[in-house]
């Protein structure tokens, strides 16, 4: 007999509730940050969390001139390959998430038309510098991913991505001891420049801290 303990029922119920919640289309969540900080790795960790909750998900990747990240996600088996769309950003990755996000908006609209029960669209920006920010015309919520191996002085450099993002993710906490990065200092200085907005510590190799990142998304744009 299937009871409410059955996770598949729970997730079906949840999905039905969410569909009610999610009038006016899916939530769009931006993930930006410097090259190699772990944006795709974070997405790979987030997908199962949303899938297990019964939230339908899709991903848009922005690479400079290739489709590497899209291919990697399509081959990961984490979600159907037609749920991953690549936007080629050309030379300036920040242009397509801020000054002229048309290409990304079109990609999101395409996914929304194709998957009518879609609840979350994750948009990965091409790796950029500390100045990149997302247009709030494109995304509802955005996070900026840095990692400990970039140096523990990154937060106090106060780039717009670090100051303005809804969530600052400090990834690769496992590498801190090897590069002499002081995580406590990064957290303290991150909090100082962010005016009370949250930050999270993650290890995308083990999944540590990822649930907290998901909870921020759930709380702020999925509302349940």
């Amino acid at each position: 007999m299937r009871t409410c303990q059955d996770p598949s029922i729970n997730s079906t119920l949840h999905a039905a509730m969410n569909r009610q919640t999610l009038s006016n289309g899916p939530a769009r969540v931006g993930i930006g940050g410097p090259v190699g900080s772990g944006k795709t790795a974070l997405i790979e960790q987030l997908i199962p969390i949303f899938s297990n909750r019964g939230n339908e998900i899709a991903v848009i990747t922005n690479d400079l001139v290739t489709r590497e990240d899209a291919k990697r996600l399509q081959q990961s088996g984490l979600l159907a390959s037609e749920r991953v769309v690549a936007v080629e950003a050309g030379a300036c990755p920040h242009t397509v998430i801020r000054e002229d996000p048309t290409l990304n908006m079109q990609a999101a609209e395409l996914l929304e038309r194709k998957f009518e029960n879609l609840e979350v669209v994750l948009i990965e920006s091409g790796g950029d510098n500390l100045a990149s920010t997302f247009s709030l015309d494109l995304v509802d919520y955005w996070m900026f991913v840095i990692d400990t191996s970039e140096g523990d002085d990154i937060p106090r450099k106060r780039g717009p991505g670090i100051v303005q993002s809804d969530l600052l993710v400090i990834n690769k906490v496992d590498l801190a001891p090897y590069v002499g990065a002081d995580i406590n200092l990064m957290v303290k200085e991150g909090q100082e420049v962010r005016d009370g907005k949250p930050l999270a510590l993650t290890n995308c190799k083990t999944g540590a801290g990822i649930q907290e990142v998901a909870d921020h998304i759930i709380n702020n744009v999925l509302f349940s």
Binding site: T21, L22, S23, N24, G25, A27, R28, R98, S135, L136, D137, D140, Y141, R158, P160, V163, Q164, V193, D195, N219, N220, V221, F223
Partner: protein, 149 residues
């Protein structure tokens, strides 16, 4: 949590204004105060000035404006109020400095306005972040702070 999926209209709309007026006399109008950047959002979680938790998800074609009415019930209304912009006003000392300052502000993607020989920068993060970036302009005497208005 109150879910809001539509903008009902503007507080000056004739259909809404008299009811809003009555509710405000009963102290039953709550405000969601947003600054300029946050006014662009379509889907977000926010508290009114009375602490009511709101989950907003309006359509992508809709825009929040100062005075947008989000809820109008017999015993409560919720209205958007735009917080006043804060400005950093700078007066360049000569034309070359003015050109350089304008170029720099554009490069930083700052929102600016020009008035009375000054460049006024809308502050969307703490002021010292802007002053930090402008340090060399001050040190080299290219600009001085001015009053806004």
């Amino acid at each position: 949590m109150i879910q809001i999926t539509d903008v009902l209209g503007h507080s000056h709309d004739s259909k809404l204004s008299s009811r809003l007026h009555d509710l405000s006399h009963q102290n039953k109008v709550e405000y969601i105060v947003l600054d300029h950047p946050n006014l662009q959002r379509r889907r977000f979680r926010v508290k009114t000035d009375r602490g009511t938790d709101c989950a907003i998800s309006i359509s992508r074609e809709t825009r929040l404006t100062n005075g947008a009415v989000l809820l109008l019930e017999s015993d409560r209304a919720i209205v958007v109020k735009m917080s006043k912009d804060r400005w950093l006003s700078l007066k360049p000392n000569d034309i070359p400095s003015a050109i350089e300052l304008g170029y720099f502000a554009g490069n930083m993607h700052w929102r600016v306005k020009f008035k009375d020989e000054c460049l006024h920068i809308a502050l969307e993060s703490p002021e010292d972040i802007y002053l930090d970036r402008l340090k060399d302009f001050f040190i080299q005497g290219k600009i001085v702070r001015a009053n806004h208005d």
